[in-house]
Structures are given as C-alpha cells and as structure tokens.
C-alpha cells in the first residue's frame, strides 16, 4: 500500500514562550524552536505500522521552505521511506484550501492508496484533510483512532465520538483520513535512523513541477486572511490558587467538595 502522510512544522509549545509580534498580527517568530506537529507524528507512526503489517511504502510530505525539511528528515529517521518537500515562493501565505490544492497536485502526480494527516495542526484549524479529500473526490474520515486493513481495497476505521463512544466504519481506498492522537504510541527516533537519512536527497517540487496555477495558491489564492492575533484577557470566573503545592492541593480538594465534585 502506498501511503502519503502530510506533516507540518510548527512552533514547539513545550520549548517556546509564545509571544505576540509588535505588529500584533502574528507571533514573534525569531528564535522559535520548531518541531513536527504532534498529531502528524501519530499519523506517520500509523502509516509505518500499516506498511509493516500489510506491506507498503510511506512517503512524508510537507508544504514549506527548506527549513521545513527538518521535519521530513525526522519522520524518515523514524521509519518513513521517503520525503517530498513542496516549496515555491508562490505557496507562501496559503490558506487551508491553498495547502489542500498543492497537496492534491502531489497526490495526483503519484499513486497513493491512503493519505493521512494529523487531526489538526497545532497552529491550524483542521482544514486540510477534509478539503484535500473533497478536491480529490476521495472519501474522508476524521478523528480516526484505529485502522484495520480489510481485503478488497477497504479499511475498517474507528473514531471516538462525544461521550467516549466509538463508531466503526468501513471506508473504500483510496481515501483521506485525519488521525487522532492516541491511536498509537509513536516510536522515538533512533541514532541509526538519524545517521541513515542525514544525507538522503529530498526532492523538492514547485508550481511548475506540480502543475499548480500560482494564482490559486499562496497569498494570491487565499480567500481567508488573518486580520488579528491576540491573547485573550484573563476573564472573570477563573480563580488561581496560591500557595505551596500541598496547600494548593488542599484548597482544590475543598473547592471540589464545595461544588459537589467530590463526596
């Protein structure tokens, strides 16, 4: 099975203190530490496991610049067979549909049975998976938390729905799935993996390679534009407990008892 996993490089919230830029329409991006978007990492692990069990090949792709190659290499060191970087000045400023348009061109250029994305980018709005499926006219399932490969070009998939229930579905290949974190336990990258992929050439495709109209992507094609970016003011109704860890625990228990959450 040919599997394509769409990944993205995002600011690592565990490594950075996110601050607003002075212009107020973005975050301060100087000196930010970036990592692979966490949900995408689960998607890659799932792809590696499917390929290992059912046979196949895993390609990781990202839309971005040369700097984003880092996450492709990371996922390749983890076990993806190859990486593809989609990079072009015309791609900058793409909205969700723009990114989906670029990815669609790659999917049509290759032959992928299964396309996976993470549930959402940590700095995004969970748009690309669904749009990509629609543009390709592929079936789509979101928030997938288990996959079984069935005979006859089908997958059995599960998703968790509100209240902890699980819904099982069958879906025809080729399809697009957005993968929920917790579907598996992504492996750590090993030293040998890092070494093996260090000098592997990663092909880069731009608008002309993909046959993408520059006017349909990037800032030119974006119909959703960010106008503001801010941190909400601390609202009323939130109470920050003060004191040592022990004191905070005691206060919390008292509060929970008072509100009927603990008997």
């Amino acid at each position: 099975m040919e599997i394509l996993v769409c990944v993205r490089r995002v600011p690592d919230t565990s490594e950075n203190e996110i601050q607003l830029s002075s212009a107020g329409n973005d975050i301060e991006r100087d000196d930010l530490v970036y990592s692979v978007n966490e949900p995408d990492n689960y998607a890659v692990e799932e792809a590696i496991q499917i390929a290992a069990n059912a046979g196949g090949n895993v390609t990781v792709v990202t839309v971005g610049s040369e700097e984003d190659e880092e996450v492709l290499r990371r996922e390749m060191a983890m076990g993806a067979n190859q990486g593809v970087l989609l990079s072009d000045d015309a791609f900058a400023g793409s909205d969700g549909k723009g990114i989906a348009t670029i990815l669609k061109a790659l999917v049509q250029k290759g032959h992928y049975d299964l396309v996976l994305t993470g549930t959402q980018a940590e700095d995004g709005g969970a748009q690309v998976g669904g749009m990509l499926a629609a543009l390709l006219d592929y079936p789509f399932a979101s928030l997938v938390n288990a996959i079984t490969v069935l005979d006859g070009g089908k997958l059995k998939i599960s998703r968790e729905i509100e209240g902890g229930n699980r819904e099982m579905s069958e879906i025809d290949l080729p399809c697009v799935l957005s993968i929920q974190t917790g579907i598996n336990e992504p492996r750590y990258v090993g030293m040998r993996g890092i070494r093996q992929v260090a000098s592997v050439e990663i092909p880069t495709f731009g608008t002309s390679d993909l046959g993408v109209d520059p006017a349909s992507v990037g800032t030119a094609g974006a119909k959703v534009k960010r106008t503001d970016y801010f941190m909400p003011v601390l609202g009323k109704g939130a109470e920050i407990l003060q004191g040592s860890q022990e004191e905070i625990i005691d206060q919390l228990i008292e509060l929970m008892k008072a509100k009927g959450g603990l008997n």
């Binding site: 880092e70 290499r73 750590y188 090993g190 030293m191 890092i194 070494r195 860890q245």
Partner: protein, 380 residues
C-alpha cells in the same frame, strides 16, 4: 570555524531531549529519593542507539562521534544527571576501554552487546586506597596456567551492581608501579566476582555506585585487555575521553539548573514585578549563561579534537575542570534564585545542587585536572 551543530546533530539533540522530557523527567524525583536504578529507561536508550553512540556501525554502534555523544549526554543530564552518568560510564569508560585496547575478537565479542544496551558496563580503576593515585592499586591479577586469578576490591564503581561486565585494572607486577598494571574483562556470574556495598550518595542517587569484589576470581587468559603492563596507560587514554563525558554531564546539569532558574525568575513576582526584572537576579542569569556557553565551547572543542583523532589530554582536562566548576556555581545560583523554594524538593533546584558536586570529584578531582593541565603546559 563552525560553531553551529550540523542538521544531523541538531536532530539528535532534539530526539534525545524529546526522550528525556517524556520518559525521564516525570520519574526524576521518583528515582532519586530511594535511589532506584532506571534499568528499563537504560534499555530503551540502548534500543535508540544511545548506549553505543561513538562506536562504528559494524560493531553495533551508532557510527557517530564525540560531538554527537556529548550532545546526547548533555541532553540526558539536563533532565537527570543520574541517567547521564550511567550512560557516560558505560560508554566512554567500559565500552571504550574495550574498543581502544581490545583485540578484534574482544571488540566483536563485547561491543555489540554493550552498544545495544543488552549489557551494561562498569569500569573499575579506583580502590579504597587508590583514588587520585591510581598507580597505588592493590587489586592483583596472578597468572595461573591459562587463567588470571583476581583478588581485591574496587570502590565507587558506577553501574557496579547492575553491570553485566566490568573492565578492571589490576596489578600484574608489583615492582613496576604504573607499568605493572593490566586491564581485564570480567563478566557477571564469574565465580569469585560480586558487587559489594551499594553507596548511599549525596546526589546522582538513581545511578548506582558500588564496590566490585574479587575473591580468587578466575578468568580466561584471553580476557586480558591490551598488553600486560599497559593497563594504566590505556586507562589514562580512556580517561581523556571519559573526562569529556564528565564535562558533558556537568554542562547538561548546568544548563538544566540555568533554565530552571530562568523560568522561575520570570514567574516569581516580588514587590510587584518578576524577580528577573531586578538586576541582582538578572546579572546572576547573565553570568550563568555566559559561563555555560564558554563551558560548552570547551567541551565541544575537546570532542571535535577527539573526533579528528587528536590527543586531547590537555583539552579534556580543561573542559572537565571548567565545566564541572561552572556546574557547581550554576546549581548554587539556581538554588539562590529560587530562594526558599530552592531548598525544598518541589523544585528541581535542590537536586541539581546535590548532583553537580560529583563533577568536580569523579574521573579526577578538580585538583587532579589542574595537575594534568599544569604538566601539559609546563612539559616543554
């Protein structure tokens, strides 16, 4: 000159940090108080290739160099120095002694098992009466037909209790002083070999420090490592690499203490503002950042020289001396910046304070480093 890590080295740094933050950080205090050896975590590190970073792939290693190795040790130690020292003693002392002094059969026999973490290694040089004066060792090895018979005690041995094999330096010729010492590989389960007292330590409590006891311990003649009488010379070579490890250990702990102090100083408010706004605190942070940077440059230089196949006796000792003293100063300031919270176990400051002290003592005290440095710069 390039002061940046390569993309590959940055990838490694991130990977080790990710592992340390997720798998080690939540357990640090759980392991520390009772002195629990993190065996499972060490085995995981083995699977990732971090128990044999510096050995060629044909021996089961990761095929990387000392720059990558010190980067890994720094990242592990930034979260828990205990894990850092376990990996360091295993890799740059035990395994590396076999790699440097061993013959091809010995390399093939032991390095893959050590590099995969299947075996944990210990290295025994220090004795109750022979610390800085390693040449005063009394543990003896006597040739008896096709075997060597070892008698004596090694002390303060990292991983001693948990090691599957130990490299041990013993006297084979009493009259020849340092030229009468030889190194041997002794496997766990060999009759007459056992680990003794497990030390109850000030810091690095999750690492194991034990005695190794030899009582008429008979090992095959082929377990002699390197040439007879050259055990001390090989041990000194091994220590050139070992001292880079301790520098990396100190560097990681200094970095961890600094980051902890930095974060706390931005959160803790007194007199209506974060304490980092007070120059008294800000200057401490500035000093810590500067000294850590200098320590990292010294450590990476020694590592890069080692990778280039150069002799690093001077540079290793300089890196070890400076970095370990920086680590002690940074941990001290970390506690000071935390104030009362630096004195209790809810914050990492007190543990860094206890842990860093090992760095100015292990693998040669700061005084011995100065002696080594002085001898190097005065020899011409």
């Amino acid at each position: 000159m390039d002061f940046q890590l390569s993309d590959e080295q940055l990838q490694l740094k991130k990977t080790v940090r990710e592992f340390a933050e997720r798998e080690i950080a939540p357990n640090v205090m759980k392991w520390d108080e009772p002195g629990t050896f993190p065996l499972e975590t060490i085995k995981e590190l083995g699977k990732l290739g971090l128990m044999g970073t510096i050995f060629p792939t044909e021996y089961g290693g990761a095929g990387m160099g000392y720059v990558e190795y010190v980067t890994a040790i720094e990242e592990l130690s930034r979260v828990d120095g205990s894990v850092g020292i376990i990996v360091a003693a295993h890799t740059s002392l035990c395994s590396n002694h076999i790699f440097v002094a061993g013959n091809e059969d010995q390399r093939r026999k032991y390095i893959p098992q050590l590099a995969s973490g299947e075996f944990i290694g210990a290295w025994g040089l220090t004795e109750p009466g022979a610390g800085s004066d390693a040449g005063g060792a009394r543990c003896s090895a006597v040739r008896r037909r096709n075997t060597w018979v070892l008698n004596g005690t090694k002390t303060f041995i990292t991983n001693g209790h948990y090691s599957d094999l130990a490299v041990v330096v013993a006297v084979t010729d009493k009259t020849a002083h340092t030229h009468g010492l030889s190194a041997f590989v002794v496997e766990k389960g060999t009759k007459g070999f056992r680990s003794g007292k497990k030390e109850n330590k000030l810091g690095l409590r999750a690492s194991d420090t034990s005695e190794l006891i030899f009582e008429d311990c008979e090992i095959p003649a082929e377990n002699l490592l390197g040439h007879e009488g050259e055990g001390f010379i090989d041990a000194m070579k091994v220590l050139d690499g070992g001292r880079i490890s301790i520098a990396a250990l100190g560097l990681g702990m200094a970095q961890g203490a600094y980051e902890s102090a930095l974060n706390y100083s931005k959160e803790r408010k007194q007199f209506g503002k974060p304490i980092s706004d007070f120059q008294a605190i800000a200057f401490k942070l500035a000093d810590m950042a500067t000294e850590i940077d200098a320590a990292r440059l010294l450590t990476h230089r020694a590592a890069a020289m080692k990778d280039a196949g150069m002799k690093t006796t001077l540079e290793s000792s300089m890196a070890k001396l400076y970095t370990s003293e920086v680590a002690v100063r940074c941990a001290n300031e970390c506690v000071q910046i935390h104030g009362g919270y630096g004195f209790i176990k809810d914050y990492p400051a007190e543990k860094f304070y206890r842990d860093v002290k090992l760095c100015t003592i292990g693998e040669g005290t700061s005084e011995i480093q100065r002696l080594v440095i002085a001898r190097q710069i005065l020899k011409d």
